[in-house]
Symmetry: C2
Subunit: 214 residues, 2 copies
């Protein structure tokens, strides 16, 4: 048997290739052949593991969903202080999607290409996650640490979308600033999310860096 040098497993290889290609070109514009080429096998080799292109799509998405199903509960329970919890969840959000932008891209594409499916996901299995986070925000409002006029659920959704879009399109938007683009974008992203949630004085855990420009 001729073990392909770069192909320990066709199935996982196809999933990785599909994530890349679906993210870059979109599901419909990606022939199975392209996935197969990337893995270094024939189209039918891929079709053997995923009887249908649709199966391949599901596989890719499940890989992403699985991460949050096991990570989020842990994050929410681990941190105790309000701001620590924010940093933990927000940080993981940025980290996970920035680690591989293609994850953010496929999620955005799904929202555009299959709105009904994503809506079902959002109002079904994903809702508990969002509600849990929103619940913590409301608790922070009671404790006068957050702005009272924050609409918790909606805030969570907006921030989630902002992170997804910012990460997904960084290669495009990042070209607008010359140096340190990545750090500036990340920082402003976090700043916007925080400044619109935490009351000014509640941010005492943030080191009072007064050395703003001017």
């Amino acid at each position: 048997m001729v073990a392909q040098v770069e192909t320990p497993d066709v199935k996982s290889g196809a999933l990785a290739a599909a994530l890349r290609l679906f993210a870059a070109r979109g599901f419909d514009a990606t022939p199975i052949q392209a996935v197969a080429d990337e893995v270094g096998v024939t189209k039918q080799a891929v079709l053997h593991h995923f009887p249908t292109k649709e199966h391949l799509r599901r596989g890719v998405l499940e890989g992403i969903l699985a991460h949050w199903n096991e990570t989020l509960p842990r994050l929410l329970l681990a941190a105790t202080a309000s701001e620590d919890r924010f940093d933990a969840v927000f940080g993981e959000l940025v980290r996970f999607f920035a680690e591989d932008r293609d994850r953010a891209r496929v999620v955005l594409r799904e929202a555009l290409d299959r709105p009904d499916e994503v809506r079902a996901l959002l109002t079904g299995p994903v809702r508990p996650w969002l509600s849990a986070v929103a619940q913590y925000i409301r608790a922070g409002q009671e404790g006068e640490r957050h702005f009272p006029d924050v609409d918790a659920e909606v805030y969570v959704v907006h921030v989630l979308q902002l992170v997804l879009t910012a990460v997904a399109s960084f290669p495009v938007t990042g070209a607008l600033v010359e140096k340190d683009a990545r750090r500036r974008y990340d920082r402003e992203l976090a700043r916007i999310a925080k400044a619109s949630l935490f009351l000014p004085h509640a941010t005492e855990s943030e080191k009072p860096r007064r050395r703003g420009k001017r």
Copy 2:
């Protein structure tokens, strides 16, 4: 000549249909035939006005870009007070894209499907718009009306993206709240943008509505 009842002009009709279809399914997944069907003519009738599918795509995009080329300068010059200017630009941003979500969708799709092209657009013809807005923000920082640690250019890009994504995917995310979804999403959108830009006391033009929930 048999004038189609609903078709005053094939060319503009095709552009409108293409905007709808490209937004919904994506450029690659939309056959010219689908556009033709929507207009009520044959595929070749469409190909007569747009020699290539690519021409159709350009036409759709130019329609969107044209709006901002003529609107933005006017908006920026019209308002004088800092917050009025913000409201004018931000309001028009939301209004224009919410008026037809498909506009937001095609823009997002372009960023995903043709990053190089969009990057060229952003660093070329669009940059002056962004710089102009960023310039006003920096002026607001000098005048102590805005947070000093706002990264003006990056803030503008993030807010732009947030609006685009929020509008484009409202039919998906809006299902998360039961009633008044549209108003709540719009309001939180504006709140996040403003709360992360304006210093708390600088917001005196906003009526002090203390009647936040509880």
